[in-house]
Amino acid sequence: MTSQPLMTEQDIPGVDIEMETSRSGDATPRLSRICVVVPAFNEAGSITRVISRLREVVPDAHILVVDDDSDDDTATRALRSGATVITLPVNLGIGGAVQAGYLYALRHGFDIAIQVDGDDQHDPAEIDRLLDPIRSRRAEMTVGSRWLGRGDYVAPAGRRIAMRLLATLVRWRTGGTFTDTTSGFRAVGPQGIALFARTYPTDFPEVESLVLASRHGLRVEEVPVRMTPRSHGQSSIAGLRSAYYMARVTVALLIGSLSRKDTSKHKEAS
């Protein structure tokens, strides 16, 4: 889907026929079937709160928790809170887990997929801000940024420098200005669902997927959102490893596989 015209919601491949027909009156395509993908790894302490908040704020959305082989009872709690749960038999990391969610959204014919972290960092009340540009067809993908004036999120100095460097690298690769490249609070329309179900970066998914989407012609828009520092668990990008992380992400962005446009993992989805 590199140079062909953008897909409309009627063109989404992989819609389960049986599922569509089993639900009378719901087969008409409209841009409102929303799937909230919540990747979670050992988030038993926060998953219940995240899901109940989501059900409050977006009651019409389908909530999918992708449990990345957690050691705790994240999956059980998510299920009990009313979410559909995909449990990965082995740990894939955030990229693989999120892609499983996009695959689910694609196969079940969702129009919009929203990505919300399972650690309660992202305020579901901000989802409307993510959805607006997609609903008004101004963008195919939106990313919530905590640095655009909303909320009072504070990051350590080292982290801020790293984030600025990442933003510079991404601007260089995409031509677009992003302030919060590592934000996992995002939404995509049908084109984004199809793209990410087919190919999704595994090493530095948040940053790399921005470049991937831009290179595939998706309009990516950053929107200001409020985020709270995580209440539970640990960032996957923290501590002594951050320097190593920066080195790797720089290499990935500069010479990474992104220069090739399509690395098909799931061929049937294309």
Partner: protein, 139 residues
């Protein structure tokens, strides 16, 4: 003479190990062929120690000290091999990711069983709102 015996024992031993692994189908065709070739080269070098084949080849390519040629070839061979394995590993892990995701999708769990087409005229159950149910049974 003792050097030849030692070299021959080692190379033939390696050849035997490769053949046994092949017969037990622990090696794939491609790898088996590779290790067989390596064994034969080792046997060849060992067997030709008395006629100084290695020294002659070294001089031919302009290397004064024969063991240097062996080291050079060994390092090159190992580097290519490790790079090849690195590529295979990446390929395997991509395949594994796809498989794990498929398994996850196939075993997706929904909160409670939902009967479709019941005479429930009130608001749709939570699981029906906004999204389809999984094809997999819950639990």
């Amino acid at each position: 003479m003792r050097a030849i015996v030692l070299a021959m024992v080692l190379s033939v031993g390696f050849l035997v190990v490769s053949v046994v692994a092949m017969r037990r189908q622990q090696l794939r065709e491609q790898a088996a062929l590779l290790w067989l070739s390596v064994s034969f080269v080792m046997v060849l070098v060992s067997a030709t120690l008395p006629i100084h084949l290695l020294d002659r080849v070294s001089h031919l390519v302009g290397i004064a000290y024969a063991p240097d040629l062996v080291l050079l070839l060994a390092v090159l061979f190992l580097m290519v091999l490790v790079f090849h394995l690195s590529l295979s590993l990446a390929r395997l892990s991509a395949k594994q990711t796809a498989l794990v995701q498929e398994i996850g999708l196939m075993t997706a769990m929904t909160p409670t069983p939902v009967a479709i087409g019941t005479d429930d005229t009130t608001e749709a159950p939570e699981q029906l709102r906004g999204g389809p149910e999984s094809t997999a049974p819950p639990g």
